[in-house]
């Protein structure tokens, strides 16, 4: 099924729509009307955190809609964060707090009132 479309999709160099979008984005960026990929990339952390102001957010989303590069990158960026958040590989020793309290009681820091 649509092998040609698939190939074109994977190779942006021969995808006219992507080139056109890039051209439009580049044109708008050159005219100072819209942020380019690099600028949009700087907004990514704030976008993900939901701290972009309304105007920047609109520019950001407009760019994302027409730029395959940035939307792919954002997808990778989000998956990176998601995978990081799911990390729970460190096993906390069961008696960690008890060990610490034992250490503190033996250090003479504690029990100064009792003596």
């Amino acid at each position: 099924m649509i092998p040609q479309g698939g190939i074109r999709y994977l190779n942006p160099k021969i995808t006219p729509t992507v080139q056109t979008m890039k051209f439009l984005t580049a044109l708008k960026t050159a005219l100072g009307l819209a942020p380019g990929c690099e600028k949009v990339n700087e907004f990514l952390a704030d976008y993900v955190e939901g701290t972009l102001d309304e105007k920047t957010m609109a520019q950001f989303e407009e760019h994302m809609d027409m730029c395959k590069c940035c939307s792919h990158y954002m997808d990778q960026y989000r998956q990176t964060i998601d995978m990081t958040k799911q990390l729970d590989d460190i096993v906390v020793p069961a008696e960690l707090a008890e060990h610490t309290m034992f250490f503190l009681r033996n250090s003479e820091a504690f029990s100064k009132d009792e003596g």
Binding site: C69, T80, T84, L87, L96, A97, L104, F110, S111
Partner: protein
């Protein structure tokens, strides 16, 4: 009513500022410990603090030093110093933030002494960021296919190794923000750097981690 910083909304589900009580921020622990009791050197209150904060602080220290035994002894030293220096706590931050700052500093000192090096240098982290030409992407980033790494343990290992490769400053910011989910402002106070610096470091760390994951996550061409 305290003035709120609109640039930094609290994440959903975060507990409200409880003033004189010490709560575990990211979890929203139910038991608040009286700050007055802690400041007065109350042992019971301090024990509550140890019980409440040990697991998370231990995980943060393990990520920095990369060794469980060493992390446990740093954790103990952290609480000892906190207990002894309680009178220097100025209430300009949360007590837990102050506590973590002590722990992180001790962990960093230990890491320097051990000379355990992460495999990436700062300049490499820079090179791992996306490349732009005249403000536009040089090459189209690949599409990622989550189905490529479906085994839970494989995913864990992939991400853990990636994080271990990051230079310590980057690793620590990712740990505090993305794994332990402290706010940008809290992380800034823990590390004694600006919120802006936390944002930049976090963004670069994620960018580098993304680059390390990329070869494992790219959608494979259809056969």
């Amino acid at each position: 009513m305290k003035p709120t910083n609109k640039a930094k909304p609290e994440r959903a589900g975060a507990p409200p500022d409880t003033g004189d009580m010490v709560t575990s921020t990211a979890d929203g622990a139910e038991d608040a410990i009286s700050l007055e009791a802690l400041m007065a050197g109350d042992e019971k209150a301090f024990e509550q603090l140890v019980v409440q904060e040990s697991p998370r602080l231990f995980r943060v220290i393990v990520r920095i030093v990369g060794d469980d035994d060493e992390a446990e002894s740093i954790l103990q030293e952290t609480f000892l110093q906190a207990y002894q220096r309680m009178n220097t706590f100025r209430r300009e931050s949360k007590l837990t933030t102050w506590l973590y700052a002590i722990g992180i500093n001790l962990a960093r000192a230990s890491l320097r002494k051990s000379r355990r090096l992460s495999s990436l240098e700062d300049q490499e982290v820079e090179r791992m960021q996306p490349q732009f030409n005249r403000g536009m992407f040089v090459e189209t980033p690949a599409v990622w296919d989550p189905a490529r790494v479906t085994e839970y343990s494989d995913r864990q290992q992939l991400v853990r190794r990636g994080i271990e490769e990051l230079p310590e400053d980057y690793r620590t910011v990712v740990t505090l923000r993305d794994i332990e989910e402290y706010s940008t402002d809290e992380v800034a106070k823990m590390l004694d750097i600006s919120s802006g610096a936390v944002r930049v470091r976090l963004h670069r760390a994620r960018g580098a981690l993304r680059k390390l994951l990329d070869p494992h996550m790219r959608r494979l061409p259809r056969q």
